[in-house]
């Protein structure tokens, strides 16, 4: 059977650049990360929960009554993944690894790269620690990655 002729298509692209405000909470978080290599959270003065990423309000108590606290740059792996494809779906020779890290002493955490380990070395619940960039710029990549740590 002859191949059906495809309908015409037209090429196009949408190229738009953005400048996203990180908000009042993000401003403090990324400034402290850049200037002092500190991970900061906001603590609700009513329920005591410590939020990372920080918010200016507590979504449980529904009040804007928060204080800033420093959070340890370490925590435990809630889960982790290894991917054999890039973000846009291209096949990779070596997998890259991600983990969701619950930060110690907080009620929050971060999702980030996991390095200095092989997938078979990792376990759910194991301790990990942040490794910071030497010349930080004020974004989430100022943390280079998390790696396995001693308890």
């Amino acid at each position: 059977m002859a191949k059906k002729k495809a309908v015409l298509s037209i090429d196009g692209e949408i190229q738009i650049n953005y400048k996203w405000s990180v908000g009042k909470a993000g401003d403090r978080f990324f400034t402290e990360l850049r200037d002092h290599k500190k991970i900061m959270g906001t603590k609700c003065r009513q329920c005591g929960r410590i939020l990372v990423p920080p918010r200016i309000f507590c979504e449980e108590c529904f009040v804007e009554d928060m204080e800033w606290v420093e959070v340890e740059p370490r925590g435990s792996l809630l889960t982790f993944g290894e991917s054999y494809f890039s973000t846009d779906g291209k096949r990779l020779k070596e997998p890259w690894m991600l983990g969701i890290v619950r930060l110690k002493g907080s009620n929050g955490g971060l999702i980030h790269f996991i390095r200095e380990s092989r997938p078979e070395d990792l376990k759910i619940g194991m301790p990990v620690e942040a490794v910071f960039k030497s010349k930080p710029e004020g974004n989430i990549m100022d943390i280079l990655y998390f790696r396995p740590a001693n308890n």
Partner: protein, 388 residues
């Protein structure tokens, strides 16, 4: 008290990759099919609701405006709904509220998605994530789901082999579905041998990039009784949403979908269903990945929590089994045009009407349940339908 609402017509079309029809042409196709199915004309329809998940797939913002003329919506009230993948069920819930409130008697519900017109659906998915804390890590859906699947397997002892059986079942079921994009006759070994995208998710655990649309027509009780002697009622609806910051949820366990259990409970409470395992005859659950079908079977109460591995091992969810799930092939076999996953509900309706053709299950279907899931683990929407 909400008024009773029935489904009185369905509009199907073939799911494909790089469908040649535009969004407008896809919508026209399913609208006409739904009107023919219900013996109605466009002028009978009071209002139209649209559902589509992510406009960046097709590259047309407010793409619902393209659907106005094609849906018979000219100079009528229209509204667009979007809750990521759960658009598939939250859109018919939106249509339901229009009729249950008494505002309209006949509502056209249309879900569509044209995913193939960009050069990377996964790059589009990356733009769904939080721009400051999550997106720079380069997340896409296979990795997101690898993270979640690992937590789920860890919590309940589910195996990759059990996941593979879901793929064999759904792609095999799709062989009977004339609208299916990816019917395949597979063995468990085929699935296990397919390449890993992100452990434990392999290529044959996933669903394809799809273009497609679906339509349903909803009617008030009086109108439904004029149209049919055997109406299929919407018996229960439910929705749940969880925090955008999945890293800090109260339930640290990403393997358990609290928001899906919540949505199912609402829908079952409303439907008066106490024991879904005994009272639900048929299910179409949202299965973009094999383990998602398993999680959703658990959250919908179709098996005990953590029991989805045994459910597939024992053949309970097979087409001929006591509680068939996704006899249409599901998203894996039929195709996965995110918001147009309303097909799950369409197939529940067809099964209840006995009109599912070669996909029809060999049992009476009085009560059926469908769900949709979406976001970065945020949303679930559930609908229970059934006959008197």
């Amino acid at each position: 008290m909400p008024k009773r609402v029935a489904i009185v017509g369905v509009g199907m079309q073939k799911y494909e990759f790089r469908k040649e029809r535009t969004v407008e042409e896809m919508v026209f196709d399913v609208t006409r099919n739904a009107l023919e199915d219900s013996h109605l004309s466009k002028d009978d329809i009071d209002s139209v609701v649209f559902g589509s998940a992510v406009d960046a797939f097709c590259g047309i913002n407010n793409s619902d405006k393209v659907a106005i003329d094609a849906s018979g919506g000219l100079l009528k009230p229209t509204m667009r709904n979007s809750t990521s993948g759960s658009t598939a069920i939250s859109t018919p819930i939106l249509g339901y509220t229009h009729v249950a409130s008494g505002m309209h008697d006949l509502v056209m519900v249309i879900c569509y998605e044209k995913m193939s017109e960009n050069d990377s659906a996964q790059a589009v998915f990356n733009t769904v994530y939080d721009e400051a804390y999550v997106r720079p890590i380069g997340l896409n859906v296979p990795i997101q789901c690898g993270l979640e699947a690992r937590a789920y397997l860890h919590k309940y002892g589910i195996t990759e082999r059990q996941m593979a059986k879901v793929s064999v079942k759904n792609r095999g079921n799709a062989l009977s579905n004339p609208y299916a994009q990816l019917p395949m006759k597979l063995t468990v070994e085929d699935v296990l041998a397919s390449p890993y995208l992100s452990w434990p998710v392999k290529l044959l655990d996933t669903s394809p990039v799809t273009d497609g649309a679906r339509a349903l027509i909803l009617a008030s009780e009086d109108v439904a009784r004029e149209l049919t002697d055997d109406p299929v009622w919407i018996k229960g609806v439910g929705r749940g949403a969880d925090s955008v910051y999945f890293m800090g949820r109260k339930n640290k366990d990403l393997g358990r979908l609290d928001y899906a259990y919540l949505a199912a409970k609402q829908a079952y409470d409303m439907a008066g269903i106490r024991n879904p395992m005994a009272e639900i005859d048929y299910a179409e659950v949202y299965d973009p990945f094999t383990y998602k079908e398993m999680q959703h079977c658990e959250a919908m109460g179709l098996c005990p929590e953590g029991g989805a591995g045994r459910m597939i091992d024992e053949g309970i969810s097979l087409k001929e089994g006591p509680l068939p799930v996704n006899a249409s092939g599901g998203l894996q076999g039929e195709g996965n045009p995110i918001g147009a996953g309303m097909s799950r509900l369409c197939w529940c309706y067809l099964q209840a009407k006995g009109q599912a053709g070669a996909c029809q299950v060999p049992k009476d279907v009085n009560n059926a349940v469908a769900n949709g899931w979406g976001g970065m683990y945020q949303y679930n929407a559930v609908m229970v339908i059934g006959r008197d």
